[in-house]
Assembly symmetry: C2
Homo-oligomer: 342 residues x 2
Amino acid sequence: MTRKAKVTIQDIARHAGVGVGTVSRVLNGHPSVSAETEATVRQSIAQLEYRPMAAAQTLRSRRSNVLGFITDMIATTPHAGQIIRGAQETAWHSGKVLFLVNTEGDPELERSAVDVMIDRQVDGLIYATMFHRSATVPSNIYAVPTVLLDCYVEDASLPSVVPDEFSGGYQATKVLIDRGHRRIAFLNHVEPIPAQRLRVQGYQAALADHDIPFDATLTSEAWSEPRGGYDAMKTLLHHPQRPTAVFCFNDRMAMGAYEAIRQQGLRIPQDIAVIGYDNQELIAANLWPGLTTMQLPHYEMGVWAVEHLLAELPATSEKGDSAERAPLQVKLACSLVLRDSV
Amino acid sequence: MTRKAKVTIQDIARHAGVGVGTVSRVLNGHPSVSAETEATVRQSIAQLEYRPMAAAQTLRSRRSNVLGFITDMIATTPHAGQIIRGAQETAWHSGKVLFLVNTEGDPELERSAVDVMIDRQVDGLIYATMFHRSATVPSNIYAVPTVLLDCYVEDASLPSVVPDEFSGGYQATKVLIDRGHRRIAFLNHVEPIPAQRLRVQGYQAALADHDIPFDATLTSEAWSEPRGGYDAMKTLLHHPQRPTAVFCFNDRMAMGAYEAIRQQGLRIPQDIAVIGYDNQELIAANLWPGLTTMQLPHYEMGVWAVEHLLAELPATSEKGDSAERAPLQVKLACSLVLRDSV
DNA sequence: CTGTTAGCGCTTTCAG
DNA sequence: CTGAAAGCGCTAACAG
């Protein structure tokens, strides 16, 4: 294997008969280069297959064109993929690449992950969690432009993007209402996480907007697993005035609800309509009948995070200290995935 | 925000009263430094909270301590997470970090991803696919130490690590045989991919080893989805000599098989034992009864890939041109996940 | 064992 | 508009 020596900017300069400065200028799209010179240079670049060495650029310019992605989620959830994909694709289209570190949520690891990112001069950082929640970030993260994904800090000192759980809960409920249902049960998760609080609020708001009185006996809380959904649904099925529809906190609970409903000899959606949340393909698409559910904006959050990060970056090098405005706290809409359970 | 000036190796040298070379030496664990000097230097480093700048190190030493991870899979499968996690964690423990690029399998994108990796001086590359298959890699990948993950190139010119599908098929079948079953059906996938070919071979081998004649009427092929499993199972259930156990190509098919079995009023595992493949938590753990299945070595493949890559890297800088031995083609075992369906 | 000295490849003044 | 020159922070080769 011939050790093909690295082609440097010097080689291009020589080949094109110009100075290295000029080559650098065309490389960086600097305006003050005559069209003619630029053409020559570009040709040399193409001919010698020159590719600038990132480390040298970073050393000199202090910008790496790398974004750090720190998360606690890779292992745990199939959602992770979409978030990362959204982030990575968006970054790629801007000529950036992603450093990925999975911390499993270990604070010490998070801190050193941030340090490592800083050592590598990342242009910005994305801190993502595996489910929508309040987060505590390592303090050193403030040294780098950062956006929080699927989480937020209580003091809103960092921009963040999360799903709009309230409107998701509202929408899901409205689908049921629009189908003519009036007795709509809600099987909620037990832990007081944002999704748990907000989805049920959306549910109540939708009810209120359609003059349906809220009936507390139609709601219950359980672990958001098939088993929890099964148990909760079973109980609900014995309600003196059985609901005609049920909104489940997530698809896993819906899976359990399906089982309870089936065991009772009832049909979905004729006897009871079911709607879930999360659109976990493996469950939702494969249940019978297919589960109508709400899709979380994973991909979109990944996109937003990177776009926002890039927008915040100092356009040129030293100038324009950002206007110190309050960090955006963005909510992205969840979308309805219609199948056959309503 | 006070723009805290970067602490450089110069500052440390000055602070510790030594030359920069010495500082660099302790940083890189070079042996020829007196314990005393080293202590002083380390103290200065700690005191000034010095952290070396990666770009400068890379520029000078030509090693970035970064590994590239190119894949077509992020979006598509929940398996991806485990592979990435295995790779990332292993890399992290060796002080490396991962560049992640998802190509969706687009060859042109793959090629430029490799170029970008090279520009960034990655120490090595992992090329991972979303399911075990033969791959065609961009030719420029040969410029960097690379290991293939969950795929291989036909000419075996690159090291690769894949699951041992044959032994997995064997094991799964043996579990059934050990439970006393003799009429064991096999619901295979239709596409001629390695898993499809090898799992059934393992199945046949296990049968043969236990003096059970292979009965072709007990095997069938369908799309590896719940629907395919459902249909195939339904047919099988009308077999004049009904099987007492069924080995499904994957958990999705098993899911369909469950439905067919239930509709027939049969019980799992009393009337028919079922074993799947993939251990897709969402399905396998939540089916009732819990599905016994084979776990693919995702995490382990990630670990292996990184370890192998690191082992191949030139230990020092220029020396030791690797012995040009044939690239390893490794198979990693699948493991049994016992639940209640057998 | 350790200080000094070249650069690594590139960007960015500073003069023309 | 463009060439020349000065480093960015670090490592490695070379003298001591």
